[in-house]
Structures are given as structure tokens and as C-alpha cells.
Subunit: 221 residues, 2 copies
């Protein structure tokens, strides 16, 4: 039977077999599902597709996950959780200076979204397919990240280090935080390692833009 399979399944059998033997099937399934969701989108990837990609049949999925939906949530939640953790850590390590905090945040956030752009793309694009119960904790984590940025901005303004644009005499730090996060997040939609800039250069560029956006004193570049 396994002989028949190694004959019939052609181009991806090496990878599939390697994956199955290197790690427990739960992780092989996660990895295969992730790759296919990224490439083709959750609703058009079938359970059969996912399982075939890791050398199993449809039914085996349900030994490891309750449903296709839970599988997607599992993938997104783990990415999101680590993103939040990394953001907190970056800011905490910056020593309280708003400029340093903002720079550290943007740097970590951009580099992560360059390096793990596929993960970010899936998390952002496929989240809408989760049922409302499962989507709640993801949204909470996103709000938490946004609030980290808002806090940095507010401290900066209070200390007089930042001087962000006003509309009708007032700031809107929440909207600015959204704008900043939007531009950093969507790096994952177009950045490619073969392009003009390295991850490091992307981080520098985006840090520079962020500091200018908030009206920080010019940094030595």
C-alpha cells in the first residue's frame, strides 16, 4: 500500500514523507494546511487537499482537530499570540524613551512581517472565515497591539517628544496608530526577499517614516 503510494504520488511525495517522519502528524497537518490556506485561501482548500499533502486521507484529520474551522483558528491564534508577545517585549526593552520605543516596535513588527509574511497574510486574510466565537480572542490581541502603539504615542506627546499632526487642533492617536499599523502590516502583502530592500533596510525605512509621521525630532540616520 505504501509502495503503491510512493509510486502514484509524484512531485511532492518526498517532502510529504519527510515531513511525516520528521514530526508528529498534528504538526504536519498544521504545516500543510497553512501552506495551502496561504496559497489558495481557506474556503477553496478542501480537507482532502490538506491531508493528501501530508500523505494521509481525509478522515485522519478528525483524529487531531475537531473541524476544519478549528484547524484554521489554531494556525491563526498561534501566530497572533507570538506577535503580541514579541511586540510587548520589544517595547519593554526600549527603556522608556518614546522614540526608542516606537523605533523598537516598528523594527520588530516590520521585520516579523517581512520574514513571516505568509503567516501574517493568512492571519489577516482568512480571519473572516472563523465563526464568531473563535474570532473573539484574535480581535482582542489585535486591539492590545494597537493599544501598545497608542500608549507610546501618548507618552511621546505628553513628554513633548512627539508632535503629531492635528485636525481641528486635536490629535487622534488611535487613528494614527491604525495608520501606522496598517502600513507596517501590509508589508507582508508585497515584500519579497528578492526585491530592492533587505529586511533590515525595510525596518530602517519604516522606522524613519514612523518617527516622521509622529513629528519626532530628526534622528541621525
Amino acid at each position: 500500500m505504501s509502495k503503491r503510494k510512493t509510486v502514484l504520488v509524484e512531485e511532492e511525495s518526498m517532502a510529504a514523507v519527510a515531513e511525516r517522519e520528521a514530526r508528529p502528524p498534528v504538526e504536519a497537518i498544521r504545516a500543510a494546511a497553512f501552506a495551502q490556506f496561504a496559497e489558495r485561501g481557506y474556503p477553496v482548500v478542501t480537507v482532502r487537499d490538506i491531508m493528501k499533502a501530508c500523505g494521509l486521507t481525509q478522515g485522519a484529520l478528525y483524529n487531531h482537530f475537531k473541524s476544519k474551522d478549528e484547524l484554521l483558528h489554531d494556525i491563526i491564534a498561534s501566530t497572533q499570540g507570538e506577535l503580541e508577545r514579541q511586540c510587548q517585549q520589544a517595547v519593554a526593552g526600549a527603556g522608556g524613551d518614546p522614540c526608542a520605543e516606537l523605533a523598537a516596535f516598528v523594527r520588530v513588527y516590520v521585520i516579523r512581517h517581512c520574514r513571516l509574511r505568509i503567516e501574517a497574510l493568512v492571519a489577516n486574510r482568512e480571519i473572516g472565515w472563523l465563526d464568531s466565537a473563535r474570532v473573539a480572542d484574535i480581535r482582542r490581541s489585535r486591539r492590545a497591539i494597537r493599544d501598545i502603539v497608542v500608549t507610546i504615542l501618548r507618552h511621546g506627546v505628553e513628554k513633548g517628544v512627539f508632535d503629531p499632526p492635528r485636525v481641528d487642533g486635536k490629535h487622534d492617536l488611535k487613528a494614527m496608530a491604525m495608520a501606522l499599523l496598517d502600513q507596517c502590516t501590509h508589508v507582508s502583502m508585497w515584500y519579497g526577499p528578492g526585491g530592492d530592500l533587505t529586511e533590515e533596510q525595510m525596518a530602517k525605512l519604516y522606522t524613519g517614516m514612523a518617527l516622521r509621521m509622529v513629528g519626532a525630532a530628526p534622528q541621525p540616520a
Copy 2:
């Protein structure tokens, strides 16, 4: 028969009937499809759903569109085309000064993405479902818009009006244009008219951020 329908179909029949009688069915279909794609996403909205929403049955779709795919393309392409036209027009009317051009561009782009956020959301989120032949002209239009921004930035730098951040001594105007467009585009993902800012205030805020990003001389706010 029509009597039976007005009795059976309950909560949306008023809207459906109003739409069917106010405009030709092609437009009613377009509108219904658009609304459902926006709310639930192209692949899970069925032809039956769309046609029921405008008081017809599945088969009637194919009197007006060749396929579900063509219907989606029709919706996205018309939005995209008008966006491109509006952007060109805004820049052309700014009189050649890079600051004014950038401000006019961002203003038009942001206000449009606040006001027609659902259209933008559909165009951005669902484009991936189009087959490759139909997606080509949409991508072309997006590149054209990006190049408008790149051109503004280049002129500004050449004239010494802009001083954007450098990485390793060099600009990357394409990456900056992407960052700027990303942040403006994704306003459509979170802006709501009930929020803290009006469209006009959003435009001011984003114009301010854009001018700072590129290192333009501070404007009187």
C-alpha cells in the same frame, strides 16, 4: 405567482422589489452581488443567494453575465477604474507643486476609501478569486496608481521639496509609495462614520502624516 412571492419572502422583499422596479435587472444583480460579497465573501456567496436577494431565480443570472466570475470582475473593475481616474484628476489639478500634488492625492484617496469603504474592501479582498486572465487589468491599474505616487515623490525629491528617510544613504521611493498607499487603502477596513473623525478630518490627518513621512516642509495646519 408574484402574489405568492410577496407573501412568502418576508424581511427583504420591500428592498428587493423596490430595486427590481427602480432599475434594470443587470444593475439589481450587480448591487445584490456586491452587497453579499462584501458581507460574506465571494466563494461562500452562491448564485442562488444573489438572485434571491433581487427577487429572481438562479438561472436568470446567465441572461446577464457569462459566469459568477465575470460578475465579480465587473464589480471590481468598475470600482478600480473610477479610483484610477479620480487619482489622476486630483494630481493633475494640483498645479505641479509636489506638496500640493501629494496632499491632493492623499485627500481624494482617503475620502474615497472612507466613503466607498465597502467597495474598496471587496475590490481588495476578493480580487484573488478572479482567474488570472481577468485579474491582469486590475493589477495594471494598481501599478498605475502606485506610479502616480512614485512620480510625485521623485519630483519632490528632485526639486528639494521632499527629504524622505534614507536607508544606507539611498531612497526607495517605490517602497515608500507602497507604505503610503497601504495606510490610506486600509482606512476602508476600520473607518466608520460613527467614529471619532469625519471623512474630512481623516483626509487632513492622513495628508499631514503623508507630508511628514516624505519630509516635506511643515505646513500651516
